[in-house]
Subunit: 434 residues, 2 copies
Amino acid sequence: MSKSQLSIEPYKGVRDFYPEDMRVQNHIFNVWRKTLQSFGYEEYDASILEPTELYTSKTSEEIVNEQTYTFIDRGDRSVTLRPELTPTVARMVAGRKHELAYPLRWFSIPNLFRYERPQKGRLREFYQLNVDLFGDASSNADIEMIQISSKLLKNFGMKEEDFEIRISSRRLINAVMTEWYELDEEGSKKLQKLIDKKSKMSAEDFAVKAKEIAGDAFEFFSFDPHSEVYEEAMALLPIRDAKEELDGIIDDLKARGISNIVFDAELIRGFDYYTGTIFEVFDKHPENNRSLFGGGRYDKLLALFGSDEVAATGFGMGDAPILETLKTYNLIPTSVAKRSTTDVSVLAIDEESIPHAEKLADTLRESGINVALNTSLKKIGDQIKHAEKTGIQYIIAVGENEAKSGEYTLKNIVTGEKFDGRTEEIAGRINSQV
Amino acid sequence: MSKSQLSIEPYKGVRDFYPEDMRVQNHIFNVWRKTLQSFGYEEYDASILEPTELYTSKTSEEIVNEQTYTFIDRGDRSVTLRPELTPTVARMVAGRKHELAYPLRWFSIPNLFRYERPQKGRLREFYQLNVDLFGDASSNADIEMIQISSKLLKNFGMKEEDFEIRISSRRLINAVMTEWYELDEEGSKKLQKLIDKKSKMSAEDFAVKAKEIAGDAFEFFSFDPHSEVYEEAMALLPIRDAKEELDGIIDDLKARGISNIVFDAELIRGFDYYTGTIFEVFDKHPENNRSLFGGGRYDKLLALFGSDEVAATGFGMGDAPILETLKTYNLIPTSVAKRSTTDVSVLAIDEESIPHAEKLADTLRESGINVALNTSLKKIGDQIKHAEKTGIQYIIAVGENEAKSGEYTLKNIVTGEKFDGRTEEIAGRINSQV
């Protein structure tokens, strides 16, 4: 490669979206947008540039210190490329707290940035659906989050048995930490971090480390109703209250037809700001058995902006895990995977036919049809190959005969079907098929 | 403000998109997307992060040196937040040059970043429609660019007389520079830069400076056919050829019904990479008389990636100027400016009615209606105020009577109209109105 030649590679760990990738991406965005709007959520967004201080107080420390893109701008301000959207939405809601109407239902589809070692499903720039409901402290809000999560996956074509929703509660976890294990804040955080990493160590190793922090009382954490200590722990009011609230949510969801929900005492989730119900959705496919997305309640975040507490619950769903799942279940529609957004290619056979081909293309466009005009004057076979390669399903060749008669042949180059007609008939035919 | 309190302000020079702003933004994106798809263009995108070297060789020097966000990442790479998309699309096309089908019609709606002093219509992060047609060296491609530009503004609701399309040609300018003024590359660049800034100086000042560079021959640049030097200059073949090509394009566009096109000998446009036809579209409104957007041919850009030359023409249209124009002509539809994307708010009157209200909401959603459920149990008047404030047009209150009878009253809170019916009738009514 000569020294002056530029590289065709994108920056490390990010993606180019060629049209066939973009169609899939837009399919994901469309399902996200349509589902959220159907539940009365309104779209918002902000810049990817945020003051660094927005993240230093409440986001996971690991993320801020090791995983952000942070730099000093030409005006000596520290700027961070947003690694998550929750601090931004909290800032925006705090900024108009008294003008906004609650319950406030908002969603966004931001691109987010993390300086991580690139690996499958982990990119340096990715997109994430963010859903938030502000001003509803009741369990109705928690229920709605899980109902939407379930509906999202069903709208992508998944079935109830394909995924599992695991639920827990930070209120319950905190009550167990302070009331049962009698841990202080530091001990509590330490134990939660250990539980969060349980799946990455041996059972023995985990038991030893857990008992080091929490003592022998730790056995309770299974929440097994048959265990000796269960009744004793549940006799403690903060634990009983939190457990009953969580059981109520699970019962309500089952009553609303969501049967794939289970209590998971070991569910922690990384972010520090959760205060109540938390949940995580898992793909059950043997080849893609992994966490897809999750969320929870975070009632205290807005107070950081000098605002009163505002009840808040939400979740985030990244594009990379859902894309893997769609591939695993073969749920990307053919129209998205294989077909261009262009419906028809109008092929000019010779120089003289170009003005007529242009006119036909313009008229079809008026009927809402997406038309590419081919005025390359290449051999008709080459023009058809161009349409095939681009994923355009229909062609209409325009030559002297067509220009004179105003009669065209519409050909579906995927099925080989042909249809003869005048402009309006051709337009009607295409519109009835695509 | 206490020291620990976070600021609610966004980063300087960027925008927060609250739902009412986002609806306008999505309206602009939808018109862009729909228009481009109607001409057979396919959407693509890439990351906002690009290797800095992508910009150092061919973008305007002013932009790279003074106006980019450039920083060193944790892996010691120099990264730039993309200030324009053309180098990216050239990189992507060069990367798959032999797999792609030409003519290749591509568009994108990227966010771009420039470190500028924030002012009206100039932001540090903005969105820009980017349209490119590769592999067509004929004037058909230049004509299509201008035809699409005109259609875009008409699809926003503008009329032919509201705007003017100014056209010129780098081929013509270069021919004049070398053949008529006999300037070398440096002199040519200097003179073009001066012409580009003509509107910012006095006529006398400009004349003096121009003659310093180009000598007394400079008067030719008006291309006035009545001037003494016109015939003499047009006798030079490269000038005559380029002028005739440009005149042909103007004639073709007029034949296709685009009457608001004028040759502008003083049109230069900033970027260095243009090689042929260039154009710029101006708003003619007395209160918003300004350049809206523009583009041109850039046949040599792909060669930077070690590829052969690929014919290329394109344009970019930023969101801020078009938004100003839409405001000036009052062209933002009421449904976008004032109405939520949520069609109806279902109000639960009491605790017992919540399950029935939930069921009604779910059923309406199955009919494609966007429904927000209000389970706050606030006074019905407050629930209606919530819908008003959010911009939701319809409400349905659900209490004991509705739950028993399955009959509801749909109220339009903008017009006061009421409609009684069962679920299917209500759904039909809403779908026929929104």
